[in-house]
């Protein structure tokens, strides 16, 4: 059989893609999935911490939307504690926040900004709820979120519960890219939760048992991905993190390309550091997380980076080849006359397997739409944005790996939103 390097690349990627997809397919409709039912007798107190930094009137009332969504939620008011931590804002944030004291909201304030993680930790120290969560000032919740998340904690092994985080009314192209990125993450987390192996509980409104942070430490302020660190810490004690797909929390997504790249650079760089730190999780002692989720995540990262370089090399090679060809024929434009012949439709090993993979991806898109309850048509935009995301995301992974190898410091600015 004739095997080129190109074919080997396609086979490796396809094998990895098919294998992980099939595992996930077999996981959808898992008979082992626990169902958590809302129980009026089980209403533990919940503390929500909102760290703010310059969220004053110039931000157009974002903070109001965030706090109002909490005040208007269906959870019993006497069981809900809201804490706003003003992290050294230089605008009128504190004044705006203080208006909520009338509604029982607690206000804490640092004179000098020390960063979001320290602000949340400050809130955690004052929190009295059995369950705690952070909520960014650019995010808000649907009224029933707590009622859907809280029942998970009836199981004492559950230390965290994640809602579905979605981008609210995406307007710019980049926000639409993030919309699909977040939607895919919702789906993947849903599958990971069926395997009982969620490696990352995002910071936005993941409910955590306060007992865990009291016993095992607050958020790690020295890492740039405190949510990933906390999740891996929960996993390293072999506790459970649950995912509730129909509990919706909305965030706005970053606006500029620089902010988009910076945010992912922070996530990806942080991922590489934490994976190294928690390498002991790559073990059968940690169930599906150790034998499947983490190994495939790392493989995915390295395949993404390899594919990025391979695509660039191929692009440069083909472009050079094409220009050289044009030069030889005196830059005469190619003839676009084309007669259709079925013979030249490429049906070979290197095309059939990727086609199967594309079909699998389309079925996944169908599932994403179905289980996430999205009303709009997502198929065509999904393909467009997935491609854009692949390009941008791969670039960020390459950059993150470069920073990691060179041990460079990542400057990400105030990581206040959608982290």
């Amino acid at each position: 059989m004739y095997i080129t390097f190109h074919a080997i690349v396609i086979y490796i990627l396809s094998f990895f893609g098919l294998f992980t997809s099939i595992v996930y397919f077999l996981t959808i409709k898992s008979p082992d999935k626990k169902e958590y039912v809302l129980d009026d007798k089980f209403r533990p107190k919940v503390s929500i911490i909102i760290p703010i930094w310059n969220e004053g009137s110039a931000q157009g009332g974002r903070l109001k939307k965030t706090v109002d969504s909490l005040l208007n939620c269906d959870y019993p008011k006497n069981k809900l504690e809201i804490i706003i931590v003003n992290d050294g804002s230089t605008d009128d944030s504190l004044k705006l926040a203080k208006e909520y004291e009338l509604f029982g909201v607690k206000i804490l304030s640092n004179k000098v900004s020390q960063g979001k993680t320290i602000a949340i930790n400050e809130g955690l120290k004052h929190a009295t709820g059995e369950l705690v969560a952070g909520l960014d000032a650019d995010s808000f919740i649907e009224a029933d979120v707590l009622n859907k998340l809280v029942p998970c904690f009836k199981d004492p092994q559950v230390m965290g519960a994640i809602p579905s985080i979605k981008i609210w009314k995406p307007k710019t192209f980049l926000q639409k890219v993030q919309f699909h990125e977040f939607l895919s993450a919702v789906f993947i987390r849903h599958l990971q939760s069926e395997l009982g192996a969620i490696p990352l509980a995002p910071g936005a409104f993941t409910l955590v048992r306060r007992k865990f942070v009291e016993e095992h430490g607050l958020l790690n302020a020295r890492t740039m991905v405190e949510d990933l660190e906390l999740s891996l810490r929960i996993q390293s004690h072999n506790y459970l993190i649950e995912n509730v797909i129909d509990a919706n929390v909305y965030t706005s997504g970053v606006v500029g390309l620089k902010a988009f790249v910076n945010q992912r650079l922070r996530w990806f760089y942080g991922f590489l550091i934490q994976i190294k730190r928690y390498k002991h999780l790559f073990s059968k002692d940690y169930g599906n997380l150790g034998v499947f989720i983490l190994p495939t995540a790392v493989t995915f990262v390295f395949l993404t980076i390899a594919l990025f370089f391979y695509a660039i090399i191929m692009l440069v090679y083909n472009a050079t080849h094409w220009i050289r060809g044009l030069y030889l024929i005196g830059f005469q434009l190619p003839n676009f006359q084309y007669s259709f012949d079925l013979f030249f439709i490429s049906v070979s090993n290197t095309t059939i397997i990727p086609v199967i993979l594309v079909i699998v991806a389309l079925v996944f898109v169908y599932y994403i739409k179905r289980i996430s309850g999205e009303k709009q048509n997502i198929l065509v935009p999904f393909i467009t944005f997935t491609f854009t995301y692949w390009l941008l995301g791969s670039f960020c992974w390459v950059l993150a790996l470069y920073y990691y190898i060179r041990k460079k410091k990542v400057k990400w600015g105030p990581n206040y939103f959608s982290s």
């Binding site: 004739y2 080129t4 086979y11 396809s14 094998f15 098919l18 294998f19 099939i22 595992v23 077999l26 996981t27 092994q157 395997l195 009982g196 192996a197 004690h237 072999n238 506790y239 059968k284 002692d285 940690y286 169930g287 599906n288 997380l289 034998v291 499947f292 050289r324 060809g325 030889l328 024929i329 005196g330 005469q332 003839n335 013979f343 030249f344 490429s346 049906v347 070979s348 090993n349 290197t350 095309t351 059939i352 397997i353 199967i356």
Partner: protein, 229 residues
């Protein structure tokens, strides 16, 4: 702390399903490629009959041969098979025996066409050049370039014939031509234009000038205005 369950059976099932999908993909791919080779083989057989017909025409028609002989449709079919074989070589690889035997047979058909065209050129006093192009698809960048230039020149001046021969093929007729024109691997690509041999890459400008293609094109347009409309 409790130890979490690993769903081993799910991973084994996924692994075997992936292997099965790969195998099915391979089998379908191989089957379709095989069918395509069969198709090329069938085309070559059809061509053989047409080629024989043309040869007999030379024997039968003693008068007005130049008006009766028509190599156009034959040439189109030869060229179509050539393109398909190049495509199949891309799928199976340079050394694939399945493609190799078809290429060998194809080279014989080309030589037969060349003989017919040379005879027609001689008898009918045709001025259009006959070009033989010797190349190899193995490690020859100049051959790749020469192929590109020849394709482009032929596209602009479609009235003359080009016969391309892979030198690594082995048959008596081709061996004879190789010896006759002293074709050697280090001299590739080699062009034989109406018995004159050129070793190494020849540029588009040189070919156009040497074969006087602009003048021939103008004449051909006068003779066959309908072909160019």
């Amino acid at each position: 702390m409790h130890r979490k369950k690993i769903k081993s059976s799910r991973y084994f099932a996924a692994f075997f399903l992936t292997i099965i999908i790969f195998l099915v993909g391979f089998i379908i791919g191989e089957y379709i490629s095989e069918q395509k080779l069969q198709l090329v083989y069938g085309l070559e057989q059809d061509l053989r009959i047409e080629s024989l017909g043309n040869e007999m025409l030379f024997e039968l028609v003693t008068e007005d041969l130049c008006e009766n002989i028509n190599l156009t449709s034959y040439t189109d079919e030869v060229s179509s098979i050539g393109t398909k074989l190049t495509y199949m070589e891309g799928i199976y690889g340079y050394n694939a025996p399945q493609v190799w035997s078809l290429k060998n047979y194809y080279s014989l058909l080309l030589i037969r066409h060349w003989l017919l065209a040379a005879e027609a050129k001689d008898v009918c006093k045709i001025e259009k050049p006959l070009v033989m192009y010797f190349y190899t698809n193995k490690n020859c960048v100049d051959c790749e370039d020469q192929g590109l230039v020849l394709t482009n020149v032929h596209r602009n001046y479609p009235f003359f014939y080009i016969y391309s021969f892979e030198v690594a093929l082995d048959n008596a007729a081709l061996n004879f031509l190789r010896e006759k024109y002293d074709i050697q691997e280090h001299k590739l690509p080699t062009l034989v234009i109406d018995e004159k041999v050129f070793y190494g890459f020849q540029s588009k400008d040189f070919l156009m000038e040497y074969m006087d293609l602009e003048r021939l094109l103008a004449e051909d347009k006068k003779q066959h205005p309908s072909w160019y409309s």
